[in-house]
């Protein structure tokens, strides 16, 4: 057992030779992994797209906007004149639901609200940071469709976020609005497809209406 190296002398086992390359690999991959994790994992594309909270009333846009073909503005009346496309008051629901399915248990919360005068606590789906000042009317009047940002609401049983609503995503359109413009009277059409080249149509619309989206910081942040 004894050898020239003398008693008690410790010899690193052979596998320890791997530590150095391993360490190098870890030093390279772990930070890269962390960066990728934060970059992708924290991006609005990952965190926000697909956000689909449960609502206090199982309201189906697929039924109302899809099957029944109701215009968005029947309920979201303020979308053309205000920053907020306000969620309708309970009154609006009861315009129909006094007659239609007036005893449905799914509408219990609506009837309660109507009776008590207290609001239905809807959960906000498309939630911008408080330092971002988005104005619905400016976009809708310019011919940016509801579907461009909110997706095919008419197919959603439960509303979910389909676009990242990130600053980069906003700027993509502000820098090149043409492919996203349509005649303002068609903004609420869910299944509209541009005849011909959308960018070409958009260019004409932009020029005639003088649409000139700003990319200045204070357009949205102030």
């Amino acid at each position: 057992m004894k050898n020239d190296d003398g008693p008690g002398r410790f010899v690193f086992p052979a596998w320890t030779n791997l530590i150095r390359p391993l360490l190098a690999v870890i030093l390279v991959t772990v930070p890269a992994y962390l960066v990728v994790l934060v970059w992708l994992g924290g991006s609005p594309k990952t965190t926000d797209v697909g956000y689909r909270p449960e609502q206090p009333v199982p309201f189906s846009h697929a039924v109302h906007a899809g099957q029944l073909g109701m215009d968005c503005r029947y309920c979201h009346t303020t979308v053309e004149k205000a920053a907020f496309a306000a969620v309708p008051p309970t009154q609006t629901c009861m315009n129909c639901h006094k007659q239609v399915r007036s005893t449905s248990p799914r509408l219990l919360a609506v009837r309660e609200s109507y009776a008590s005068g207290l609001p239905i606590p809807w959960v906000k789906v498309h939630d911008l940071p408080d330092y971002t000042y988005f104005n619905h009317s400016a976009h809708v009047r310019a011919g940016v469709a509801c579907a461009s940002c909110h997706g095919r609401i008419d197919t959603m049983e439960v509303v979910q976020q389909v676009q990242p609503l990130s600053m980069g995503w906003c700027l993509d359109c502000h820098r090149n609005p043409d492919p996203h413009l349509r005649p303002p009277e068609l903004v609420t059409a869910m299944d509209w497809v541009a005849p011909g080249d959308p960018a070409e149509l958009g260019r004409r619309l932009r020029e005639t209406a003088g649409i000139n989206p700003s990319v200045d910081c204070w357009t949205c942040h102030r």
């Binding site: 994992g41 924290g42 965190t47 926000d48 956000y51 909270p53 303020t78 053309e80 004149k81 205000a82 920053a83 907020f84 306000a86 969620v87 309708p88 008051p89 309970t90 009154q91 609200s113 109507y114 008590s116 005068g117 207290l118 609001p119 239905i120 606590p121 809807w122 959960v123 906000k124 939630d127 940071p129 408080d130 330092y131 000042y133 104005n135 009317s137 400016a138 009047r141 310019a142 209406a209 000139n212 700003s214 200045d216 910081c217 204070w218 357009t219 942040h221 102030r222």
Partner: protein
């Protein structure tokens, strides 16, 4: 003599070589003396910061800092990736016409001292957030005073009284309104049995017709009851003076737009008057020198006021000598051919050649020349005789009907406030008043000291006090009732000229308060009537208004044609001469103490408003304090330094206050503002200033003669802003020369001869260092500020604070130069410290096209927009403060703390939701009200129409009483701002360093006596 030479006198060339150093502008006596302390101050970017970093007790050590940073980095990963779930709470029944998030504007009125100011209040989602003037209202014309604008903060003050309080046998109970109504009914029954004997109501001054009707009903029910009106600060002397010469109680209305020569005798018509906003508007319109004419203002006053600052000739004179000066003026007027009533114009108290006599000669000569276009106006602190003589003088000039008109004073039989409260106090002492209801006001604190009102009130067996706050008076009363704020109750009020406004609530009472009318209704047996019912009843009965008229009144904020009728009184034969005779025998006697309502907290009622406390006083730039103001010579004589506490004694009563040396104050005068040193004023008011009421007796309510001033040796740190944000152009050596180029001025004459004088004041060969970027925006925003119109009132500062969620930082931080106001009003003195001229310059961000702040920001947090705005991006800012360092105008403000974390939930309701609330560590500054710009642009685009000029108005411009601030689009050549930018008087400050400011100033014009103009001799 050419224009340049005059400029050397007035403004100095910046590149003209050292030989011609002309008139020197200075901000404070320290600066004038160039003291070492001032040098240190200027050298520091943020005074006091170094001290903070060095102080071991307050500052974190490097090690602990690293520890904390490491911990916070480690914890940062644990926070959730998505922000908290937010709820949308739509109305179950949305009110008609309401769009969520869209502001609604309601017209209402705010009353101060019995005169209403019509305002428009912006309400967002049910929260009133901003008070603006009502353009239709005669006392506002679209402007709002700092007091009116601070009403929202008062509304949301968490320290307002929230409950009724019953004090009985040393116990404090919290009853309900029902309990009180029952008590009121009980008391009414008991009082009716004895016809109201022993009962008195003490009310603050109000013009409300509803309160007047209820008062009438009350006195009908209880004929022996007394109604006492009391305001610590009122214009009773004017009323008494007019009664002396006209035989009836009259109210004077001034028309500065008609005046060509105004002589203000101890009178601050531009700020301290119920119609000051209208006066300022008329003044500002007339002083721009358009058409080659402008009114001339003479001011004689003891304390430097805004009117004195705006004057062309100012005479510093003890208040007790104003009467003598008026007699001198009358004598000189008589000599100049004005036919005076018998007994006037015979005495000349000042010998020829004295400054007083010269002043009188010039002013009288001018008055005699313009006759009915002349106006002599006397301040409320002067005795009745002075008012009487001035009225006679106006009458002799023929001014009645042009520059001054009269109406019958409302409630003409009313006793003067000081006498009325003295009688009430006596009746409390001898027990003839056993029950006292106090509606508003704070008499236990602000009644004349010798009355000992507080002790007598405490001894009264039945006392009720209705008040916004549980204040000094409430604490001594058996019942305290929370009062509904003017923004949360129905009511009515009349302007100084009588125009009726309906007061409508913007919000339900936050704390269940009730209005004075409702409390009175409970007493006269109508407890079921709400303030709304009462107001409508008055409206219907007195103005015969049906539903249409009512809605019109609510919508307009005024009821048209309800102003008091103008009367044409007859001067009583000898009255003016007799008044003059009484004046003539008054000699000056010793040092004077002048007690005056504060420019910010008024008589103390606004003391708990952080906005007002932190607004720099226009003259002293003092915040969070009042001070004993002294003339520089007096301070020297008394060996008192700025900030040293002095004891002021008069008639055995004394008050200790820190001294504040004010150039331009009359010698032998001490000034002390009322309204500070509140004991029960709330946490904001606590510790702010000293209480001047203990030395204020009925006889010395405004002026005490023969006071003694002693040093105490103690000092108090006074938080002034006058040396903050010094524009240190090129070091101390350059400053004296350069500051002159910031304020450019000329007399009207010189302007007519050399219209381009302001542009020629500096020249520069500065060339850009790099290729300049062409701005391609649809609009190019710009501002113009007319220094001829600006009177330095500070309304813009408060408007900006309310609009842009600007924090209040407190006395300590202000003393360190960390006030956050986005627009400050610089105050410069020029000339001799004993007789200085005062110049004001509002200073917002200049939005330089070549902004020096932008090129030094390491993170591009401040960048230029295509529309020419210097944008500040809070989220990018890392707080290096390089931008502030490089800003030559010193308009950038840094958040050293999270200023809003400790703000009460109610106070947060005052936030403007359109503006980000900034956190610690970021820089901020004027945005030209970008939220208003964006809203205006969006509205125009949605309607597919071009923006109209004047559609977008920043908060400062909207509220400016003189319309000195104009904002607009330079791309529109016909816009007002384009016109002003092309104006010959326009100039950019520091444009010689090629910053290309987007804010241009219009040089100040003065109109001194004499065709040649003042300063002519300086060539």
């Amino acid at each position: 003599m050419n224009a340049r030479v005059r400029l050397a006198a007035g403004v100095t060339h910046s590149n003209a070589g050292g030989s011609r150093v002309g008139r020197r502008y200075w901000r404070s006596l320290e600066e004038l003396a160039d003291s070492p302390a001032f040098r240190t101050m200027v050298e520091q970017e943020f005074p006091g910061l170094a001290e903070e970093l060095e102080a071991p007790a307050t500052a974190a050590t490097r090690r602990s800092f690293l520890k904390v940073m490491a911990a916070s980095l480690a914890l940062a990963g644990l926070t959730s990736c998505r922000w908290p779930k937010e709820r949308i709470m739509p109305f179950a029944y949305r009110p008609e016409g309401y769009v969520p998030g869209v502001p609604q504007i309601f017209a209402t009125a705010l009353e101060l001292g019995g005169a209403a100011l019509g305002v428009l209040v912006k309400s967002v989602d049910g929260r009133p957030i901003k008070v603006e003037g009502n353009p239709l209202h005669p006392a506002s014309l679209g402007a709002a005073s700092p007091w009116a604008q601070a009403a929202v903060l008062e509304l949301y003050d968490p320290e307002r009284s929230t409950t009724l309080v019953r004090r009985e046998g040393g116990q404090r109970r919290v009853p309900t309104w029902d309990d009180f109504v029952a008590f009121a009914a009980e008391q009414a029954t008991a009082l009716r049995q004895r016809g109201g004997r022993g009962f008195a109501v003490l009310a603050e001054a109000t013009s409300s017709p509803t309160v007047a009707m209820l008062r009438h009903a009350l006195l009908g029910m209880l004929p022996a009851a007394r109604w006492v009106e009391y305001e610590p600060v009122s214009r009773d002397a004017e009323r008494a003076g007019l009664a002396q010469v006209y035989g009836t109680s009259l109210r004077a209305l001034l028309h500065l737009d008609q005046a060509r020569v105004i002589v203000a005798m101890d009178s601050d018509v531009l700020y301290g008057h119920p119609e000051a906003l209208r006066h300022a508007r008329e003044w500002g319109a007339a002083r721009r020198g358009d058409g080659g004419a402008m009114p001339r203002l003479y001011a004689a006053e003891a304390l430097l006021s805004l009117t004195g600052s705006a004057s062309d000739h100012r005479l510093a004179l003890p208040a007790g000598r104003i009467g003598a000066l008026l007699l001198q003026l009358a004598a000189e007027a008589a000599r100049a051919g004005v036919l005076l009533p018998a007994g006037l114009g015979t005495v000349s108290p000042f010998t020829a050649g004295t400054p007083e006599a010269d002043f009188a000669v010039r002013a009288a000569g001018d008055l005699a020349q313009v006759r009915e276009r002349g106006l002599v106006v006397v301040g409320p602190g002067q005795p009745a005789e002075v008012h009487a003589v001035a009225a006679a003088l106006n009458e002799a000039l023929g001014s009645r009907g042009t520059t001054v008109t009269y109406t019958i004073a409302p409630d003409p039989e009313r006793r003067p406030h000081l006498e009325a409260v003295a009688e009430l106090s006596a009746s409390l002492a001898d027990g003839t008043t056993e029950a006292l209801w106090i509606l508003g006001g704070n008499p236990a604190w602000d009644a004349p000291a010798e009355l000992e009102f507080a002790q007598r009130l405490a001894a009264c067996p039945q006392t009720v006090h209705l008040s916004l706050y549980e204040n000094e008076t409430s604490r001594l009363c058996r019942w305290h009732l929370p009062r509904a704020h003017a923004l949360e109750s129905w009511g009515d009020a009349r302007a100084w000229d009588g125009t009726l406004s309906v007061v409508q609530p913007l919000i339900e009472p936050l704390y269940g308060g009730r209005s004075p009318a409702e409390v009175l209704a409970a007493l006269v047996g109508e407890p079921a009537l709400s303030a709304y019912d009462l107001t409508r009843r008055t409206f219907a009965s007195q103005w015969g208004g049906g539903e249409d008229a009512w809605r019109r009144a609510l919508s307009d904020g005024i009821v048209a044609n309800t102003a008091y009728a103008t009367v044409t009184p007859r001067l009583l034969g000898d009255a003016a001469g007799e008044a003059g005779g009484r004046l003539a025998v008054r000699p000056a006697s010793g040092r004077e103490l002048i007690l005056y309502p504060d420019a910010k907290v008024f008589d103390g009622r606004f003391a708990n408003s952080g906005w007002l406390q932190e607004l720099p006083d226009p003259i002293t730039t003092l915040t969070w304090d009042n001070a004993a103001t002294l003339a520089p010579e007096d301070a020297q004589e008394l060996r008192v330094k700025h900030g040293e506490v002095v004891r002021i004694t008069h008639g055995g009563r004394s008050v200790e206050a820190p001294a504040c040396v004010v150039p331009g104050q009359a010698r032998g005068v001490v000034g002390l503002a009322l309204g500070y040193g509140r004991e029960a004023g709330g946490s904001v008011a606590a510790g702010a200033g000293v209480d001047a009421y203990p030395v204020r007796t009925a006889a010395t309510a405004y002026l005490a003669s023969g006071v003694e001033v002693q040093r105490t040796g103690r000092r108090r740190l006074l938080a002034t802003t006058q040396e903050h944000h010094v524009i240190d152009t090129l070091g101390m050596a350059e400053r004296g020369r350069r500051v002159g180029s910031l304020i450019r001025e000329a007399s009207l004459n010189e302007f007519q001869r050399h219209p381009e004088f302001a542009k020629n004041a500096t020249w520069s060969q500065a060339r850009p260092l790099w290729q300049e970027i062409e701005l391609k925006g649809e609009h190019q925003w710009a501002m113009a500020i007319d220094l001829s119109a600006c009177i330095g009132c500070g309304a813009c500062t408060i408007a900006c604070q309310a609009e842009n969620n600007i924090p209040v930082v407190g006395r300590k931080q202000v003393a360190r130069g960390r006030e956050m106001h986005w627009i400050r009003v610089d105050r410069y003195f020029a000339g001799d410290p004993s007789d200085p001229q005062v110049r004001f310059q509002p200073m917002p961000c200049q939005h330089c096209e070549n902004a020096p702040c932008e090129s030094v920001c390491p993170v591009a947090a401040t960048v230029h927009s295509e529309e020419g705005l210097n944008q500040m991006v809070y989220n990018r800012c890392v707080g290096t403060r390089y931008c502030s360092n490089n800003c030559p105008y010193k308009v950038r403000r840094f958040n050293f703390f999270n200023n809003f974390t400790k703000v009460a939930a109610t106070t947060r309701m005052a936030f403007n939701p359109e503006v980000t609330v900034r956190g610690r560590g970021v820089m901020e500054k004027c945005t030209f009200c970008i939220q208003r710009i964006e809203a205006g642009k969006t509205a125009a685009k949605n309607e597919r129409r071009p923006l109209r000029d004047g559609e977008i108005v920043p908060a400062c411009a909207q509220t400016c009483p003189t319309r000195a601030i104009v904002f607009g689009d330079l791309k529109d050549p016909s816009s007002e701002v384009s016109r002003l930018h092309r104006h010959p008087r326009s100039y950019g400050i520091l444009e010689e360093i090629d910053t290309k400011p987007r804010t241009l100033y219009l040089a100040k014009l003065t109109n001194p006596h004499g065709a040649a103009g003042e300063g002519e001799a300086s060539s």
